[in-house]
């Protein structure tokens, strides 16, 4: 067992792009689910819109990076409107089914061979012209990060820098929004929609704004994934990633400004740690071959996510740092 390399891998992962992506996606869900009570199960769809918005904007439509970012934002807002206008009146479990179906429709379209001219089909978009070239050329770093146990490549370091600035900005935005009158109305909708309506507020419009803002957080997560991998791949946006983001959110505590950040760090940190420890243990022969081989480590990791999600909801639905009073899961 090489504990030094395990520690170094885990610590580097804590500041890596995956934490940034999960944090951003969960921040979106925090606005939807934590504050507004909207059960959006299609966050992976919003993430795909962000990733493909940038990738297709540059590779397929030949836009420049800033225009492609605007394009990604525009069509994410469009998706939110398209999804929200009919569905925001539905009750929570129906909304969940509709959003997960909408996310799958998007993924199947991005995956389909008949549209591969534009989307790259099941291989996704990765090259010719490479959509990350412009982003890479803006990289101010001349080398990677190698301080103590932290190791990041040059490109990842640049993605991560931008990503953490986004996370910081997002946290600030959430905090400001939730202490504003707008935030109070949103939380009021979560607690009792009819009471808010009777105060003369347009509940539908508030829900829509919440859906758009949270969706844009999801899109930002998708952009980080696409830029970090230099590829937009449809299978990075399967429904299970929405549920991973929910696990992150519930770990940290829903309706908490720092919840997604704490959740993402714990979630990804423990997954990487588990992965590294298992790999080492299998490699060193500490785990017998009949019990587990190297190819099965990935499944153990997913099993843990499922188990943690179950146990969290059974024993501590408010998350590690959440406040039970804030979280009314069964609004409506």
């Amino acid at each position: 067992m090489d504990w030094g390399s395990i520690a170094s891998q885990t610590l580097s992962a804590l500041i890596g792009w995956e934490v940034v992506a999960y944090c951003l996606a969960a921040m979106g869900l925090n606005i939807h689910f934590g504050y507004t009570g909207l059960l959006n199960f299609g966050q992976a769809g919003f993430m795909a819109m962000g990733a493909y918005g940038v990738a297709m904007g540059i590779s397929t439509f030949g836009l420049s990076l800033p225009v492609a970012l605007l394009f990604a934002i525009a069509w994410t807002v469009f998706l939110a409107l398209l999804l929200g206008i009919p569905t925001l009146r539905l009750r929570a479990d129906y909304l969940a089914i509709v959003t997960i179906a909408a996310g799958e429709i998007l993924r199947l379209f991005f995956r389909s061979a008949s549209l591969s001219e534009w989307t790259g089909g099941s291989d996704g978009l990765q090259g010719s012209p490479v959509f990350t070239t412009q982003f890479k050329s803006l990289n101010p770093y001349s080398g990677g990060l190698n301080i103590g146990p932290f190791h990041l490549g040059q490109h990842t370091l640049w993605v991560v820098t931008v990503g953490w600035i986004l996370v910081g900005g997002g946290i600030l935005l959430t905090w400001l929004l939730m202490r504003s009158p707008w935030g109070r109305v949103i939380k009021g909708i979560r607690e009792d929609e009819d009471a808010v309506r009777s105060l003369g507020k347009n509940v539908f419009s508030y829900k829509m704004q919440s859906l758009i803002i949270g969706g844009l957080f999801g899109a930002a997560a998708g952009m980080v994934i696409a830029l970090a991998n230099s590829s937009a791949n449809p299978d990075n946006f399967a429904p299970q990633y929405t549920f991973f983001a929910y696990t992150v959110l519930l770990l940290g505590g829903a309706a908490r400004v720092f919840g997604p950040l704490v959740g993402a760090v714990i979630f990804w940190g423990s997954l990487v740690l588990l992965d590294a420890v298992l790999k080492n243990a299998v490699g060193a022969g500490l785990i017998p071959e009949w019990l587990m081989n190297e190819n099965q480590i990935g499944q153990v990791r997913f099993m843990m996510v499922g188990l943690v999600l179950m146990l969290l909801m059974i024993y501590r639905p408010q998350g590690i740092f959440g406040d039970k009073k804030e979280l009314q899961l069964d609004a409506r």
Binding site: I97, G306, L309, M313
Partner: protein, 517 residues
Amino acid sequence: MQRRTARILSMLLGAMALVAGIATTLPAHAAEETLTGSVVNINGAAVPEVPVAVTSEDGSFSTEAVTDAQGIFTVTTPGPGTYVATVDPDNVPPGVMVPERASEGISVTLPTESILEIQLRLTEAISGTILNQVGDAKDPVAGVPIVVESSDGSFNETATSDEEGEWTVFLPGPGQYKVYVDTENLPEGVFVREGYSSEVNVAINSGVQRTVLFPMGEDNRRVLGTFDKALQLTVEGIRFGLLLALAALGLSLIFGTTGLVNFAHGEMITIGAVVAWSLNVAGLHLLLAAVVAVIACALLGGAQEVGLWKPLRRRKTGLISMMIITIGMSIFLRFAIQFLIGGENKTYKNYVVQEGINFGPVSLAPRDLWSMALALIILVLAGLFVVRSRMGKAMRAVSDNPALASASGIDVNRVILFVWVFGGAMAGLAGVLLGLSQQVKFEMGFNLLLLIFAGVILGGLGTAFGALVGSLVVGLFVTLSTLWIPPELKYIPAFAVLILILLVRPQGILGRSERVG
């Protein structure tokens, strides 16, 4: 172990010989030790025709051997000691490379029990087979020029297909490559199939060998007339719809009685198929294995209710929390199944190869006929049971108003337990039959979950016949839509219908209207 016993035995024999006063001399060749090794690529496949040099550590002995068709080489060494086996990087057959960490060779100390293994890396390559469709036959075409170009233009190589139609281009490294058929220089009468591109862009990662296919010749897949095809698809749609209905029944009844949207229902389907498959592979006939699988799923459903859902209801856990718990359970079970059986498709041992029976233009395998009949009978019986029997009446009373049902003397928890057992059994049966018509895979149930939701919601959540009708409609919809849209998009119309129904008539076709907003 055997060798050690042999050594002890020979020592004993030697001692006895000494005692007997007979001088024993060991045969001269006994000092020689055989070194056996194998050469494989990173996928574990044997690599033949690789020259391997074996040298003793002190350099006093050296010899060469070439691997055979099984990738095995054997050399006879002068005796025990440490030997190093190396593969010359410039002398390996095309397609494989000597990785850096193996270039110094692999050492082994004789005598040993184990076989020395040398692992080679795969060279990045693009290959394919050119088959020309002539009528019903697919013939390999020789002499088709295929050009592979790297995206930066630094690499350009043309391969020509051989007698088997096969071609391979080894690449200088990972990267982005353009592969195209040189359409100007095609052999007489050979053309790239209409509607297909003669040019593909592929990204090759490190150590990846990829296959690129170019369909050639006439497209014969539209031989069926549209009407005949529609008929065939209709029958397939009914078969698929019936299987969906079996699974949907449980989901719908569980929702009706408890209000829980069960995202882990798909995994019950998978478990049914996996249990049947594993027993079948272990030697049990599929029919018996199916019975065991259905019972196992019924027990699993009951155990879930007793061990998890009932205590949670007693703790007044909200429905949304319970729904998220089912999601966690779905993820856990799905990957636990993959952990146990792996990610590949599995097939049953019985009823796999069957000649189709023709009914006019429609062709069906006997297994499909039987599974359709079985599903239909079970569904009708289940429907009648819900409508006619006392338990069915109790079930409907509980879905209507649990408090009132309980006040009128119905044991609500017993009804719910029955629904879980019943729903589990139905899902398990659906899984067994699905494994027969498709294949068994860890995510087979999850892939159907949204379609089952679509069927249940279309028919009306919580109603037994609604689930049947809705699922049939969805099954037909999915298969018939391939008449107009590409097959990989066939789920999209069903999902769109799911969304539309929830928007326009959330109580479904057969459901009673109630306030749901």
